[in-house]
Symmetry: C2
Subunit: 546 residues, 2 copies
Amino acid sequence: MRTSEEVAILEQWARIVGPEHVVTEERELRAAEKATYATGHRIPAIVRPADCAQVQECMRAAYRGGIAVYPISTGKNWGYGSRVPASDGCVLLDLGRMNRIVGFSEELAYVTVEPGVTQQQLHHFLRERRSALWMDATGASPDCSLIGNAVERGFGHTPYGDHFANSCGLQVVLADGDVIDTGFSRFPSAHAGPLFRWGVGPSLDGLFSQSNLGIVTRMTIWLMPAPEYFQGYYFRAESSEGLSGLIDALRPLRLNGTIRSASHIANDYKVLSALQQYPWHAAGGRTPLSRPLMERFRKELKIGVWNGSGALYGTKAQVREARRLLRRALAGKTSRLQFVDDRKLRFASMFAKAYQLGSGWNLARMLAVLRPVYGLMKGIPTEHPLASTYWRKTAPPPPRMDPDRDGCGLLWCSPVAPNDGFHAQQLTGLATELLLRHGFEPMISVTVLTERTLSCIISISYDRDVPGEDQRATACHEELLGELGRKGYYPYRASIGSMSAAMGPAGPYTQLLRKIKDALDPAGILAPGRYECREPDRVKSATPPS
Amino acid sequence: MRTSEEVAILEQWARIVGPEHVVTEERELRAAEKATYATGHRIPAIVRPADCAQVQECMRAAYRGGIAVYPISTGKNWGYGSRVPASDGCVLLDLGRMNRIVGFSEELAYVTVEPGVTQQQLHHFLRERRSALWMDATGASPDCSLIGNAVERGFGHTPYGDHFANSCGLQVVLADGDVIDTGFSRFPSAHAGPLFRWGVGPSLDGLFSQSNLGIVTRMTIWLMPAPEYFQGYYFRAESSEGLSGLIDALRPLRLNGTIRSASHIANDYKVLSALQQYPWHAAGGRTPLSRPLMERFRKELKIGVWNGSGALYGTKAQVREARRLLRRALAGKTSRLQFVDDRKLRFASMFAKAYQLGSGWNLARMLAVLRPVYGLMKGIPTEHPLASTYWRKTAPPPPRMDPDRDGCGLLWCSPVAPNDGFHAQQLTGLATELLLRHGFEPMISVTVLTERTLSCIISISYDRDVPGEDQRATACHEELLGELGRKGYYPYRASIGSMSAAMGPAGPYTQLLRKIKDALDPAGILAPGRYECREPDRVKSATPPS
């Protein structure tokens, strides 16, 4: 049963966006409430505006009516909560229909998009124009929103991998329906609007990332010129302790700009999950996959305990020099360092068997994993990593994968650590032990995210259809987050359900956030709970000036 | 005469910082009110806290008493207003005593500093430790504050030239005396505090740059590893139209990462002002320096209409390849492309005369200008550019230069444009014509600031002791700012006196800023007027939710 206020606002929204774009059908609502782990928040309706003006009108109505609204771009925030709002009872504001590419410059290398524009869409757009620009892509689905990922501060694989750092000129609808443009975009016909982050005066972009202070309805994303030459590199360590040496060897090259993109280093569990589903037969139906069994697979598949990839971008001579420096840095740290370019990859695909004999590498099987990663390093979206969300399922992934619908269990924890071997070792060691103890495979990748930091992505992957697993996964995630925090490692991004925990205890910082939120959205109708500290933080109120 | 409230607060501050650090002496106050152009704001007192706790206590007292306070780091914001507050009657909160370097890591390449730490101090610190890290320096005095420049979003000459983009972990005292740390620094013993910009949740760093929302009392600044090899490059164009081709040739190299630092391209007037004072004799005592006379000097000194410099950083092979690409790109665009490294510079200094014969370049005289620029590109602070603020003076600069004290006239205007030859040409053409028309030499430098933008620094340089010049300079500056805005070019930074104009007209954006300001500082006691729109922007108040 809906209250009369709810009925009234649904009617208002229907007038704004058209009745066919106000969803109240039970099946659709229940589907939207389902993520890749246990969440309890209910969604009373979904509203799908067509443009910024409609978003403004919808928000004005919500603001007047005191109705809580939760915006999503395409809602494919898998592992962190999918489409599920951070609080119970929020109406979903689905921006998926706003999928126009509204600006583009080949010379100045940018594109301006709306929240519904997906990775695949931009990729096609550039291909169609025979553009000499590359986008950055994440390993998430090609159907993921570019803006959604950027405002969550997600990252990819090219030199433009830090998505939020490579964007500017945000158009933002505030809780009360006002709309602003950030940076120079707020000035009439400013030439540098899509080009320069800061503008003049306080810079507000950061306020609208990982936040509930506004709805980003447009954003400029910078693109990179396709390099004259591209080469991927792959390396590995044969022991879990080998990670430390790899990280320490790569750090100077990342700091001095020889390596300009993130290297990703995945452990054996992670690689196995990219190659196949859980080996139920070999494991005798038991979980988690034990260390000894993992070791057997590792030897069979000729993968390392740690398996790294990265890429070099530049002229032939620039890449050649980077290759020399990389070889020198990794000497003695890795059992194998391979370089792959387009030609070699084509060749390898044709002669996988012969290549394997020559190189000792099980290329035939590995190509299925290599190719999507290779593509990602060139900014080509792929569906491949999505299949690994079906890891613990007993049936194979369907042709149209949908982890939310299919009961795939996935819960991510993504702590940040110094770009330093000791920390990489300590962090991954802790996570490995903790996940195995909770009955999950420790699937871990370590990304050399910036010059000075690593981000470690720890996946808790399970089957939601197995009774009790949801609770066990949530408990494991909570303990992991707590334990990492006690050791000084905090996540770069939070999942629905852990947002308050991730934001830390109440204090002057959360009070400041609260003051800003109260100033913009006094009734808290915009995405309540999203990146908010839930502890009472209004206790200490500042003395007003006399 | 002071009011009883003023007397009371001065007593409170004296108890907090010690009476010797509360300055009420007329001579000192009047000196602090003097900038390099006409400003009218009076300073009733100067308070000099020793640490963050004292800043907090001072602010608590000011907040309670409703006393306006204006923080400065070292106050050497020459050309933009020096130490002068953005409003009349603000007490100066001078943070110069807070000059400790409180954190440093050679491996992870950062330093954590207080606002009083100067360029020179950090340079010494690194030298003393025989650190293999380089800082970035601006052409402002070695005595300038690092934090002061970074929060103003100033820029320098190395790959770490965008100062605010290369900093994180801000400690900020708010108007009410609360203190917060940004990013991960707010969490207990977070390892990534000085390493990672974003933290988790909304990112607030940008809020405290070019703002009056808080006082930055600590900041981490990232440093770059000294490259194995360094080479400066110099190039020029012989006509004013030649700028366009240079910019368009450099853009692809900046975009693809071959050039990792800002190139600076100065016009003939700017170079002349770096070489000498105004040629009063040759100009027959008249100003401005006419185009034909400038041309005569240009030929005599063998400088171009546009004179560019930049640097290449890397291994020998990396620099060699960058050099090849730069040569190829600039072929036909520049009449002369020179590469200089440490060895060549030493050699040139010893055999300047012989070198000139060989190269046709007036190296002996140019070395005086070249050397400081060369040093800046290696992050070595220099006093040299400061001398050019004495350009229109008839007496030579004194040994201890102080442009504020000495009546040097300097007013900067710094519009941002797309990294595109057409815009560079249009912008500089407009500024050249306008300044000459107002009776000032158009001293202009164009910096390829980021991959996609140029920043143009236009100096209005004059002698404040010549009656009427202050007014003429201000009028020229105002017209320039207005004219540039009408053409779509907006400044990256504003000067005291033009802040409200630079912030643009009232609208939803300025209303948003106002709401945030009101939430944090309801009485507006912290740096009132600083990067604030002065138009009434509270007219339209949002409807509160029912």
